[in-house]
């Protein structure tokens, strides 16, 4: 067990050389390669993290866009609903206005037709009534209608209050005693004679009746002296008839209006 100091020195040198060699050929390159690989992995991880972050940002952006689109869609739908509601109201108002106009026109037309009908009824009714009365009078009593009218007119003159008779007489005198007797039918000589006598008897013998035909009278006789007028005709009966028809029509029209409103 001896120590060879030359060998010791040689081995020391050998070992130091080996340290240098291994540092150059083993530890240095291997550590460097591992560090480079680690760096690459870190870099890739960083890239992956960055890409992940970018993807996350993109995802968030897309979600925000989606939310925005949804909000816009909702707003558009609300606008469309509001617009549709507005148009609906407008159309309703227009339809209502049109209906009102049509209804008013219809009512006006109805009223016009009613008036026309009444006028027609009045004219035709008067003729019919006169004719019926004439026929009935003739068949039942053997009398002429015109004769009965003249008689009724004479009776009415007789039955007039005294003050009215005086007023009419005074009015006649202001025009040289001329009073106008209007009739719907031509008076016979006998009728004129009877009326003249009745005037003279009831009012004043000085009165001079002037006989005229009047189209507006319906089977009646009218005495006109200045502003005084005495009349006996079918007009009042016709008025009553017209009023009753009008009442009946008014009831019918009201029912129709209610039905139209419903």
């Amino acid at each position: 067990m001896e120590i060879n100091w030359v060998t010791v020195a040689a081995q020391t040198v050998n070992f130091l050389i080996l340290v240098w060699l291994l540092h150059k050929f083993l530890y240095g390159p291997v550590m460097k390669a591992m560090a480079a690989r680690e760096e690459k992995i870190h870099k890739r991880k960083a890239e992956a993290d960055a890409e992940k972050e970018a993807a996350e940002n993109t995802r968030q952006g897309l979600e925000a866009d989606q939310a925005k689109l949804a909000a816009e869609r909702k707003a558009l739908l609300e606008d469309a609903h509001a617009e549709a509601e507005k148009v609906r109201h407008q159309l309703e108002a227009e339809a209502r206005a049109e209906t009102d106009t049509m209804r008013r026109a219809w009512l006006e037309q109805l009223a016009s037709e009613q008036t026309e009908f009444l006028t027609d009824v009045r004219g035709k009714g008067a003729d019919a009534i006169v004719e019926i009365c004439r026929t009935a009078l003739k068949e039942l009593a053997g009398e002429d209608l015109e004769r009965r009218i003249v008689a009724a007119f004479s009776g009415k003159l007789d039955a007039m209050p005294a003050d009215v008779r005086k007023k009419v007489a005074a009015a006649g005198k202001r025009h040289d005693g001329t009073v106008t007797v209007e009739s719907a039918f031509p008076l016979s000589k006998q009728d004129k004679q009877q009326i003249t006598e009745s005037l003279h008897t009831a009012m004043d013998p000085a009165l001079k009746p002037k006989f005229e035909a009047a189209d507006d009278l319906l089977a009646g006789i009218r005495l006109r002296a200045d502003s005084q007028v005495i009349e006996w005709s079918f007009n009042s009966f016709l008025d009553q008839l017209t009023n009753r028809i009008e009442e009946a029509l008014a009831g019918e029209t009201a029912r129709e209006r209610r039905a139209a409103a419903e």
Binding site: M1, E2, I3, N4, W5, V6, T7, V8, A9, A10, Q11, T12, N14, F15, L16, I17, L18, V19, W20, L21, L22, H23, F25, L26, Y27, P29, V30, M31, K32, A33, M34, A36, R37, K40, I41
Partner: protein, 235 residues
Amino acid sequence: MRISPDEWVLYSWRELELNATIAFTWLVMALITGASWLATRRLSETEDISPFQNFLEVLVTGLADQIRDVSRQEPGRYLPFVGTLFVFIAVSNLLSVVPGYVAPTGSLSTTVALALCVFVAVPLFGIASRGLFSYLREYLRPTPLMLPFTVISELSRTIALAVRLYGNVMSGAMIAGILISIAPFFFPVVMQLLGLITGLIQAYIFAILAMVYIASATQASHRKTEPDTQSEKES
């Protein structure tokens, strides 16, 4: 039977002798360096690496981790010295299975040389790490009376390093030689296998102890304030 390969002179020229220790050391050096050069010639920096490069990386990483564990420092500056101690002793011991090969670590001269390297490296690393005066002051702590004991401790542990390795390797070779002469078939194989394990363990112990000595020199002041950070191991 030769106890030491120093006595096996292969070539002599005037006063100089080339003994087996130096020759096998050169062989081991050539093998290690050649293998390293071959492996690191085309190192891959990608994840796709050759098995041999993988092995070298495992080796280097393992050494670096051991140094980090023992010293609690970054292993970069200690790796070449401590790593080479381990690799050289391990390869020297493992090759003893090759017939005709004599491990240079079975020579006291080699182990003394290695122990001397550690003996010199410890103060060098300590001074490099802490500065000359700070390092020398450590010898006077806790009291200057301890200086002789500290110096004796430094010397004795160096001698222990050398003798421990030499004794283990030489005794392994000796026992194998004796057993071959007594029972040439079975026992020598078993003893060779045990010798491989012993060789690796001795390489590990030598390198770790060297690292512990270096770490204690570089971190002595830290040890005072942080007693748990350092643990000296003696085998």
